[in-house]
Subunit: 403 residues, 4 copies
């Protein structure tokens, strides 16, 4: 076991990270700095202070990172219409790079030589945390307790907690049998009955949204305004990034929007079943595609679509801080300069329906050309003959050779 002086722990204040805190102190005989962030998970972060103090922590960081999270992570990702494996909006994946970055910054501020997290050895989150740590501070030492200790069952963990005076009522905190993760973009559920992909999840599992069945019987219209690819106002009211996403979450949750039940492929090699609620994200994605549909050039849009799955996999796999993700982001951001305008949506029982979009300054939709009526010469139909003939030329030559 490497000699460590001080470690910065991503500390939620829950049972698991409290046990980790104690275990770090005991096993490594090192000082622990706790870092607790509000990224919109919907739980108070201040109680973590008392818990950390109680366990003898001297340096306690508690921060509200919601605006940074949405502005610098969620929004850049949505500029690419990012979806992993056709469905998953990457709610967990996109939060880890921010946590990793702040842990490394705090390590530098406090002179710590290690960082630690509570992710297990089976999941993607360990990879996302640690690739972030290493990319930002290549010589940092990483402690992943779940891969190191011998607390291999829930019972052993509880026993350890009791032995070391860690309040066990914490385990009831979530009141949920599922392994959950939440931030401003989503809440996720894994484990237990979900481990059988043939089985429908119980209605009681979902926390952020009503079911479509229980959503209001009347639809609600919503206007969203975009500037350079980011949503900036709802129904004419300017909102901060986090404020806007929070509002969308409320609206989506109310209308039964954003539930997802899927089997995904983890970076560490196995398939895993997860359920997600992303009410605001689903609305935002649909609206962003709609504003792009009138403001992006066709080939720019297609290039983005062609690269999107790869960009999504980079984020899913934990490569947010990699040079290739940053390189792709340059291209994506460059594409968004003219993505300005508004989109009108209708929210109703799980549906997000685009009913209108316009961009007075930047629309590339030209009705004088597209019209079925007389276009007064805006488009010469005769041009199509040559267009087709030359596009067909190679096909005709090949056909003569029975290709």
């Amino acid at each position: 076991m490497k000699k460590i002086n001080k470690a910065v722990l991503a500390f939620s204040g829950g049972l698991d990270t409290s046990v980790i805190l104690k275990w770090l102190q005991d096993s490594y005989q090192c000082e622990v700095v706790t870092f607790t962030a509000d990224i919109g998970q919907g739980e108070e972060v201040e109680p973590a202070r008392a818990k950390a103090k109680q366990l003898g922590v001297k340096e306690i960081y508690i921060e509200d990172l919601r605006e940074e999270f949405v502005r610098d992570f969620v929004f850049p990702m949505f500029r690419a219409n990012t979806v992993y494996e056709g469905e998953y909006l990457l709610g967990t994946s996109i939060a880890r790079p921010l946590i990793a970055k702040r842990q490394i910054e705090i390590a530098k501020e406090t002179g710590a030589d290690a960082v630690s997290h509570g992710a297990t050895g089976k999941g993607n989150d360990q990879v996302r945390f640690e690739l972030g740590y290493y990319a930002l501070q290549p010589d940092i030492h990483v402690i992943a307790p779940w891969r190191e200790w011998n607390l291999t069952s829930r019972e052993k963990l509880l026993h350890y907690a009791e032995q070391h005076g860690i309040p066990v009522e914490m385990k009831k905190k979530s009141g949920s049998p599922y392994s959950m993760d939440a931030n401003l973009l989503h809440i996720s559920y894994e484990g237990r009955v979900l481990e059988n992909p043939a089985t429908e999840p119980e209605e009681s599992m979902w926390r952020w949204s009503v079911s479509p069945e229980k959503a209001p019987d009347a639809p609600e219209y919503l206007d969203m305004e975009f500037k350079r690819g980011d949503a900036v106002a709802l129904n004419g009211v300017k909102l901060s990034p986090a404020g806007l996403l929070e509002t969308l979450n409320v609206l989506g949750g109310k209308h039964g929007i954003g539930r997802l039940d899927l089997v995904e492929n983890r970076y560490v090699g196995m398939k895993s079943r997860g359920c997600y609620e992303t009410p605001g994200g689903v609305i935002l994605l649909r609206a962003h595609r709609a504003i792009e549909s009138i403001t992006l050039d066709r080939e720019v849009a297609h290039l983005k679509d062609d690269l999107m799955p790869r960009y999504a996999a980079l984020i899913y796999n934990g490569y947010w801080w990699s040079p290739e993700r940053k390189m792709m982001q340059q291209m994506i951001d460059a594409s968004q300069e003219k993505v300005n305008g508004w989109v009108r949506l209708k929210l109703y029982k799980g549906n997000v329906i685009v009913v209108g979009r316009d961009s007075p300054a930047d629309s590339l939709f030209d009705s004088t050309i597209a019209t079925f009526e007389d276009d007064a010469g805006a488009y010469d139909q005769g041009d199509a003959a040559g267009f087709i003939k030359l596009n067909a030329l190679r096909l005709r030559i090949a056909a003569k050779r029975k290709y």
Copy 2:
């Protein structure tokens, strides 16, 4: 004007293609063979026979191509989870190659030296028809009346019809102010008020589906079975490809599923606004992704996702019969060998919700590995440390160089 002996016309029996028929006879002084296909557009095809006869046609082809359409065109396309520009399910695009193929076959049977269609010079369909013609018969002569004649307005067309004794009541056929196209996969609407993308379409436009608001208040569960990537049974009942898609259309239409309102980029260079109803297709796509989620290897799935937008653009642009589309199809079809199993869906007011999936023989989901519980050594968490360290190595080296 090139000397033509005989032309095979894609003939719907409606006003436009009736005028074209007459115009071909008069302008080219050629014999015309009519070809009318039932591809599930929901209109009788037999009436076209009388109309053709009345206009002096001697060789009249009327065929039911519904099974071939779904089996050899729709299903292969769905194996790739094909969506154009993130949303459009290519309902019109996928029907044209079949029409083109039959026209060329009929031209060979009847000794015709030309083919003709009723698509305008502004749209994608002219390209899809003609690239098909040329790829299958490189020396065929193509007549595209809308690009050749001087009937540049609706009035002139009607006037021509009246002058030549073509029953004008046909123009009321659709009873719709929109330019429409239908087949077993979808019905589309373009033109008129839709030419302003800021405006919501009227409820009365939609023909195949009720609105989500008017859909039943009770959800309906549906089991779909897949064999080698194609849907083969619903609720335990084996169905032919066309029978299955027809059933899905009824179910989807009943539950308000499959409406789409978008602005798309045409191959000929302009943006165009279209509304689509694809009730069965939307259900099928969601189910296909779900069965793939447990039966496809991760990297196979990602490779498919990476190439899908390109494959979709090929079909949208009319390259179904191109060597590159056929080459991609080889890869796509090869990926589907193990895509067997069933998916359970819940249909409710516009929503298609996957609630279960299993593949007893071919599932790659291994709960003994993925479990949050004790996995009895199926997975060694320690392996993750090395996995992360080596994946991070290049990031660490770069970080030292302030990359």
Copy 3:
């Protein structure tokens, strides 16, 4: 024929563009502005002035664009290691966008309402010129004489020249039976005996390089320095972009480097046989890949390689001024920030051999890790076990299913 007031003609001073000049004046009854650029084609541009004057041209533009050509077109393209269809270095393609841009600028300066060029209707250059014109000035009128006039054979052209007093000795200008194009990046040959791809070109065709057989018997070493992906010095001497490429051309030509004989696929649909000499470009490409090999992160390099063929096709097809090319360039340029250092090359009888490369400030090559000797713990071989195990996990699960 559209009424034109003034047209800006890309004017080489040779026979063809002289005939075009006269034809424009006569057919369109318009004023013609000539534009002649030195882009390194190796011919004097000043003589074009007298010829234009003789034909009554009042506004004559003669410009040396060599530095702009290399700095803003050739170098950005080489940052991507751009090669079309595995072999062609795009020498002709990359010059057209610059000519198009200057023609449009001159049209604005002189109040011209049209532009014209001397490219035929079969080649790629018409596309490259005209896509440039339209992208930079969407309402410009384009006159492509070869597609419009009835001078469909060489005899008719000569006859027209004689009739209109255009000095026919010009036709002997090149002294070559080939259709040729030259600029600082390359010289190309097409037509005549080359139209049979089975036949070897005659040695006498080549103009810029000696054959490898006739090159010096002693190799020559060359050091090239790079800053942000661009070559900036040779053998320790700083050079301007054009100066550097000129020097490389001399060196390459001397050592028999850069000949290429291929069959390529034109954008307009046919295959075409071309021979090229790109002596400096071949050296530069090899050196650029070598400096990237030690300064680029692996995944950045792979992303560039994955997109390169698409970027090359954009340039080949004439889309330099398109939004998608500009978007890709953002990404490519962003990748080059650390591409600094030097490469040592050995030039010998057609070979460009990389014999050394270093980047004192930015090398990502870490011999302490890569060494076969004792690495003092820089790399833990045990990490590889976990790395392999997790990368193999999905393969093992699939294998159990006989995937």
Copy 4:
């Protein structure tokens, strides 16, 4: 240490694998089956029998796999014009999957429960061997001695050999200070002075080729015939796959062809400098591209080029036996059906110059269309106007918006 009964060792007969053999017997107390393959490395394989016997091995496999190697591994890879990172022809990478496959087959035949190899923990080969093992037999146990034992230096290895009676003169076998690997496709050099990428390798290192300087002063012409993408004859003489590649190696080596000196990115995360001789491969690659240039459709060729770097990385990284590589191979092989014909090459002092190519039955080169002379209407230049106008339409619309 897991209990092993019998292990199949990839055994070269050299010092390293002899020590491994002994170490396996001693450490695992298991029986060892040796497997020695002739894949064209240029050394006798029979002497391995005596060495294995001397160390008490009862089951000894010695096999000539040269034909299988070229036919089922090298040739399929060359159908894709496969090159890693722009330069490396994957000589080592492509041999490992074959060795892995035979080891697994032998394990099944002999009832062995483990396999073992002599690759170190720093390189790519361990990954290639082990991914192959796991993909073909998911439950096999893998022993990688270099990652397990404490023989961490050359001295310790020699000491162990002496202690255990393993003839140490073997270490002189190669007479080379480099780490080398050879098979019918190439020979590679790594380590020692090569660990400084700034330094030119000594001439004495190269073994398979003369330097261009020492190559004959007279060029040699070579005709190569292709069937379905594979080379089948040289100068009119049909040859087996291995026979053909052997002949090309002799020819290439004689003419100084195929040397390569590069820095590559290993899958395990570091950059590494390697030198390679691939005389036959370089000739074959150039010829294959040439025959494709006249027989492949443009878009098929471009699709292959777009995917090639990814396919190359799969092979480099050891994923030959993965479902995604097999899926890509289906597409690549499908593209080769018409790749028939011949290519004429000129070999001279390091140069492979294509001087002619033809495919009487399958050429898509149509000189009646491409000609600069009168084409008798084969191509209508007027078509180009419409082709350009419609391709420009989106650019013009965007330009009006100052995109």
